[in-house]
């Protein structure tokens, strides 16, 4: 009962704020609603006992990526953006695509979980699992973990190349 309640609470919060993210005109409000969406998703993660994901969601997404988003919002001139007409010409195409996807989802739900071949959920048996995530990550999944450092390196190079002013005297000319 409590389980159901918390799930629907977080799910509704996530969906409603996600809709607001794309409908609100002011980009700063969008960013705030995105934070709510991410937090609500974090709540669902916690309910599923994915504690590590919960922490990642809070620290990395709410704490880090949102900062980046707000920075981007601050980079552009908001007042100009507010007055501009938005790209809305694809509205009907988008609606069509959304309807198609929604139809698929309803179809899949109508088929039931057997057709999808989903194993039965057993949240009760899950232990607090950050430790086992750690063990798996550093033993059998050590390789993807180590290579992830290369990924971050590439991102750093990219940030410097694209964001940093190159050779100040020349680029002024």
């Amino acid at each position: 009962m409590v389980e159901q309640f918390t799930f629907y609470f977080f799910a509704a919060l996530a969906v409603i704020s996600a809709v607001l993210v794309v409908t609100v005109r002011n980009a700063v409000y969008s960013a705030v609603f995105l934070i709510t969406t991410l937090l609500a998703t974090a709540g669902i993660f916690l309910q599923l006992r994915a504690e590590f994901l919960f922490v990642v969601q809070i620290i990395l997404y709410v704490g880090g990526i949102m900062v980046l988003f707000v920075f981007v919002v601050m980079l552009v001139d908001l007042d100009v953006a507010l007055r501009q007409v938005q790209f809305n010409r694809q509205k009907w195409v988008a609606l069509l695509v959304v309807l198609a996807v929604a139809g698929q989802l309803v179809f899949a739900l109508a088929l039931g979980s057997e057709a999808l071949g989903l194993p039965a959920a057993a949240p009760e048996s899950l232990e607090p699992n950050t430790e086992s995530v750690g063990l798996r990550l550093f033993e059998s999944y050590m390789l993807p973990f180590e290579i992830a450092s290369i990924l971050l390196l590439v991102a750093m190079i990219g940030a410097v190349l694209l964001g940093k002013r190159q050779k100040p005297p020349r680029s002024e000319a």
């Binding site: 999944y141 290369i150 590439v154 190079i157 020349r170």
Partner: protein
């Protein structure tokens, strides 16, 4: 349950490339501006070391890192292809970067680190590992594509590439998640035991296919290709059209080769995508007047031919696909390197008009370009011919008569635009008002790359036996 020395040994090429790439990156800010170009030596040394390691590791085939990695003959073939491409791209890039006044160190670091990602993709036998490799390879190519920061068109195309590319990677990742949900594992050998009729697995494999189809630029996921290939710096285009594509094809091949449900599900998808890709690429190439863009469409068309081999799905077909990938890499590397040289400062001279009368002005250059074009067209005695030949034979053996006929029709279509460039070079004179560029000698690095690729194109066309044997061995790894 800890990785042993053999695990690291079997991943040695990627480890070396990663270490060298990091060192290049680290040294870059410490060197004075006039010394930075010297980093190209270090970069090339890294690629050469990775190549050497690939050959060394070849004799010790087997899984590594808890079956996440499979160092088999298939991996060996692709490692050769990827690191050789990286080496040649770096060799040709130095003169280009000097000419365009672009930073050196980061370029080599990104090429090396990107090829780490591609090497991991080629070697990975597990989908999460594939994903990380894919992400590294994509991220570094996004950055390389936007390397000319000052050029507006380049920026636009790079942004397009980044957005669509991230979208495609997201598709792939979602697919992996669904596959994992359906089978409880991401290891390909174990996914192979899944039941093909399960909806979730079907959905997952479909999404995985979409993600990879985007990366190999096959229709209908090719829309980004012409813009990005045209906008990216030409040496980067040379890289984009070869190594990352080969790596994505490697993943497709490995999944199609090991996961039976995928082989079954993908058959008609591959068939349709192959046919569509060939037609889209060739028909659009017909009307291009910009040579770089035309070559981009030709890349799309060639992905279509390789998909024919994938649709055939036999061991011989996989070997043919691998051979085709190598041959295609040689000609595309050569062609784009040459385009980079001829385009001149700021890449301004890219249209057919700029190529008019080239044969009279620079006979050797024109002859080399003709060789690549004829090979792309598939004329006998070139690598391109044998690539197509093997693919067609494999297709016929697998009773794909319809698809092979379509491929043959497409080869004829392709003849028109390849020959048109040659026609312009040999039989057209430029407009009298045309302003000629000051003749620039071919830089040494570029010259070496051209010589290597031209020689390779001829060599593979006349003596295909050796490479074909390696390809056959590689294709047999899935048995």
């Amino acid at each position: 349950m800890l990785p042993a020395a053999t695990d690291y040994y079997r991943l040695l090429p990627e480890i070396l490339a990663a270490v060298f790439g990091t060192i290049v990156m680290l040294l870059e800010p410490f060197l004075r501006r006039e010394h930075k170009a010297a980093l190209s030596w270090l970069g090339m040394l890294g690629a050469a070391a990775a190549l050497g390691a690939a050959v060394l590791v070849r004799s010790d085939a087997g899984p590594a890192f808890f079956h996440l990695i499979q160092a088999d003959p298939f991996t060996f073939f692709l490692r050769l292809l990827i690191y050789a491409t990286a080496l040649l791209v770096m060799l040709a890039a130095r003169a280009y970067l000097d000419r365009e006044n672009l930073p050196h160190g980061e370029f080599y670091a990104l090429v090396l680190l990107g090829s780490v990602g591609m090497g991991v993709m080629a070697a990975a036998a597990e989908l999460v590992t594939v994903f990380i490799g894919l992400e590294i390879s994509s991220l570094s190519t996004y950055i390389l594509a936007s390397y000319r920061r000052e050029a507006l068109r380049a920026n636009e195309s790079a942004l397009k590439y980044f957005l669509l590319g991230s979208f495609a990677t997201a598709f792939f990742l979602f697919g992996v998640a669904l596959v994992y949900g359906a089978t409880g594992t991401a290891r390909l050998e174990q996914v192979a035991e899944g039941v093909a009729s399960v909806l979730l697995l079907k959905l997952g494999l479909a999404l995985v296919f979409i993600g990879l189809a985007f990366k190999v630029a096959s229709a209908p996921f090719h829309v980004w290709t012409p813009d990005v290939y045209e906008g990216a710096p030409a040496p980067v285009t040379a890289l984009l059209s070869t190594a990352p594509k080969a790596a994505a094809f490697a993943v497709l091949l490995r999944i199609a080769g090991t996961v039976l449900p995928a082989t079954l599900l993908w058959f008609w998808v591959l068939w349709g995508s192959a046919a569509l890709t060939m037609f889209v690429g060739n028909l659009a190439a017909l009307v291009q007047s910009n040579v770089k863009r035309m070559l981009a469409y030709s890349s799309i068309a060639h992905a279509g031919y390789i998909l024919v081999a994938l649709a055939a799905g036999t061991e011989a077909a996989y070997a043919a696909a691998l051979y085709y990938l190598a041959a295609y890499a040689l000609m595309k590397l050569g062609a784009f390197t040459l385009v980079a040289h001829l385009a001149g400062r700021g890449e301004r001279r890219l249209t057919l008009e700029d190529y008019a009368g080239l044969a009279r002005r620079e006979p050797v250059v024109a002859a080399t370009l003709s060789l690549y074009l004829l090979s792309l067209l598939g004329l006998p005695l070139t690598a391109g011919f044998l690539g197509k030949f093997y693919v067609f034979v494999a297709g016929l053996r697998a009773e794909l008569l319809g698809l092979v006929v379509l491929a043959a029709v497409n080869t004829l279509l392709g003849a028109y635009y390849y020959l048109r460039v040659i026609l312009y070079m040999y039989f057209r004179e430029p407009d009298p008002t045309y302003e000629h560029a000051a003749r620039e000698p071919v830089p040494a690095g570029t010259g070496l790359v051209l010589a290597a690729t031209a020689a390779g194109t001829l060599l593979l066309g006349i003596f295909p036996g050796h490479l074909m044997r390696i390809a056959e061995l590689a294709a047999a790894s899935f048995r």
